[in-house]
Amino acid sequence: MNPYSDQNATGVAKESPGSVSTYVGARWRDFKAGIGTGDLGSLPVFIGLLLISVIFQILNPYFLSAENLSNLALESAASGTIAIGVVLVLLIGQIDLSVGSISGVAATIVAVGFVFHGWPLWLSVLAAVLAGAVIGFIYGLIYTRFGVPTFVITLAGLMGILGLQLWILGKNGTINIPFESWLVVFAQRAFLPEVATYLLVVLTVALFVTSKLLTARRRAAAGLPAASRAGILTRGALLLLILGVFSWHLSASRGIGLMFLVFVIFIVIVNYALKRTRWGRAVYAIGGNVEAARRAGIPVARTIISVLALGGAFAAIGGIFAMGRLASAGVSSGGLDTNLMAIAAGVIGGTSLFGGRGSAWSALLGVVVIQSIANGLTLVSLDSSIRFMITGAVLLVAVIIDSATRRSRALHGRA
């Protein structure tokens, strides 16, 4: 007997296997329900991004040009990678204020190891990433052992690690990395060839559609409500269109930077780990209700430590990306702006400060918003004072939306 047929009588929304129009109708209903109950997800970010694009395009037609967008993508990769770690830490309801310092110390470890000690570059990079992970691991130990809020632990870390960075640098103010080293080539001049880009787009869409179709078939076979074929194909076509047009547009210039691609691949991996593994479920559960997670037998301490270690590792990787982009590391590596931008990116992208809600993709969305504002303001020749003020305002709006949706959820009995 089909267990679902009876459930349907009790009011489970069933998506009938129908045409494109029923699919669009269903999404529209979701959207209206979302507005009513304050569960908007990443919709405000998309609207914000659209607004930013339109405004800057009107102010300076160079903004949406292939060259500028290609550049923008590369600019985003470093802070974005740091923001992945920030998102992970935010999901368990904690915060890491020291990501900027960790990124700075990672950059100096690579520079000093590679340039002064003659380590192979890969070894220096590995050492730096490990250092980031170890710092996060120590935060995790202190938090789970002594219960000190991560806010304070990482604030102490911010200062301590900055000191470590200066100590490693010694008397050197700035260390230049040779332009021919693969790290700098990767960060500045490596772009995906046009053919490879299109191949990648087709492959991505094919993978997306097949996996969705397979899931739908399994669900249908098990008697569960499944997404309709038409709906999946519509989404696939839409994805193909967006990615295709984007790639085609960028191909007029240098194309998609390799570093940006690696950043997106990181997001895809982290997203899978969060949504499809037992570890990811534990992360969301801890962010939602630590006590419930503990009583359900989830290894809470171990999960928290792993998340903070990953946060440190991503901060280190982001710092190394930023160093490659500048081809140098020094006193100012991972300074003020890196820290704030990465944390702001996670929140602006739609990950809740209160834990348990958000996705790895918010790192991408948030960093693109922030970098677009910075880039657009540079194009209209406003200096960094205005940039900080506007980014601050955007962050404030994002946090207000976060808090307001939370309150609205409470009002609708959804918190």
Binding site: G223, L224, T277, G288, E291
Partner: protein, 268 residues
């Protein structure tokens, strides 16, 4: 499984406690408590504040191991040293605060900590088992894929009880399941408890609400000041008798109040 097998043999209890004591420092929270629960039986544990109900729940759930006494579970003496030990024995505890993750959907909450699959969660199987379980319980839930945050108090209680059943327990301990519910939702929760009895599970129901106890329980065990103070079949005990056992006498605030109200009724 049938709740009671009529083969002439006396049914074996699922759980039997003999002389359980538990002290917190100088405070004797439980002293020499006895309790027996049979399969397919709902045993209500009632008592005033501080009577030791919560401590008893915590002993069974493994939160506080007991000091002395013998716990026999399915005819074997056992030691409940921690929450995991309790769960592995087949005791499922539903706490008053439900301990649900509001940000996760119903399926995720049911399988929290015991997901199917590790590096590739089997959502289809988990969702199917969830639907099966709700159907067996005749429980109504809008959608098993909606976040728990969007459910009503009664539905959340349903989810919490259903979650207890995922591990196929033999004994379910419910701590004040109806305390936060409205009239209709309470009725639903009581139906659910009867459904558990039909499945042949032993049910321990901690409650303050005499009406609920008399509706759904087979037996009432009264605790007073940490010790046993009565063990009644619900069918042959009156509300007043239970109150007397809880408060420790026939002359107390409750009976005096009732008497004075009756008196008023006569004079007017």
């Amino acid at each position: 499984m049938e709740p009671k097998i009529d083969d002439g043999l006396a049914p074996q209890p699922i759980l039997s406690l003999k002389g359980i004591s538990k002290a917190f420092g100088a405070v004797q929270a439980l002293k020499d408590v006895d309790l027996v629960v049979y399969p397919g039986e709902v045993v209500a544990i009632v008592g005033d504040n501080g009577a030791g109900k919560s401590t008893l729940v915590k002993v069974l759930a493994g939160v506080h191991p007991h000091d002395s006494g013998i716990i026999t579970f399915k005819n074997a003496p056992v030691k409940i040293s921690g929450p995991t030990a309790s769960r592995n024995l087949g005791i499922a505890t539903v706490y008053q605060d439900l301990a649900l993750c509001d940000n996760l959907d119903v399926v995720s909450n049911l399988f929290l900590g015991s997901e199917i699959g590790n590096f590739n969660l089997d959502e289809v199987q988990m969702e199917q088992r969830t639907l099966d379980l709700f159907q067996q319980l005749s429980a109504k839930i809008p959608s098993v894929r909606s976040a728990v945050a969007g459910l009503s108090g009664g539905q959340r209680q349903t989810v919490a009880i259903a979650r207890a059943l995922i591990g196929e327990p033999a004994l379910v301990v419910l701590d004040e399941p109806t305390a936060a519910l409205g009239v209709a939702q309470t009725a639903e929760a009581l139906n659910l408890i009867e459904r558990l009895r039909e499945r042949g599970l032993g049910v321990i129901l901690i409650s303050h609400n005499m009406a609920d106890v008399q509706t759904v329980a087979d037996r009432v065990v009264v605790l007073r000041l940490g010790g046993n103070n009565g063990n009644f079949r619900v069918s042959d005990v009156s509300h007043e008798d239970i109150v007397a056992a809880i408060t420790g006498g026939v002359d107390n605030a409750v009976t005096r109040r009732n008497a004075s109200r009756k008196g008023e009724g006569i004079t007017t």
